[in-house]
Amino acid sequence: MTKSELIAKLTSRYPQLVTKDAELAVKTILDAMAKSLAQGQRIEIRGFGSFDLNYRPPRVGRNPKSGSRVEVPEKFVPHFKAGKELRERVDELL
């Protein structure tokens, strides 16, 4: 499912909702989530999961093309942990 398919599903779920509003709603939610993580703030959605940041220490990497050493600075990367309901539902049909 892509973002536009998600928007289409939300529009068909709410017949009174125009596509433009569903588009804006999806954009608003995703932008707020991205902004929250970008500010170092975690996200917690009950029944879906939580997003937080994991620390990666600095390391010496290699440029795969030239083979030369490159210093990779320390950083944070986004991390998702599925919530109970999502975890159980994806595993159910197996």
Binding site: M1, T2, K3, Y14, A25, I29, L30, A34, V77, P78
Partner: protein
Amino acid sequence: MTLTKADLADLLFDKVGLNKREAKDMVEAFFEEIRASLEEGDTVKLSGFGNFQLRDKPQRPGRNPKTGEEIPISARRVVTFHASQKLKGLVELHYAKQQQRHFNQ
């Protein structure tokens, strides 16, 4: 501070002009559609944010950490999230800015 469904509903009220009830339902529906798609085994790709994928894990040996007893961990399907380059970049940028601020103080 943590971003929650209530915060997202407030934003939909402010920015999209949905009423409080509709905003709350829309947030719920947004996550429900993603769950439903993953439940059916379908990957979810949200451009600019990231992809939710499914991984089938084979059975593996495990242990009860309390008793030390060996019990197999059953085969299962799990959800993994891969942040887009854009989201990774935003998060790193924040970190760089924070370091800069710290340095300037």
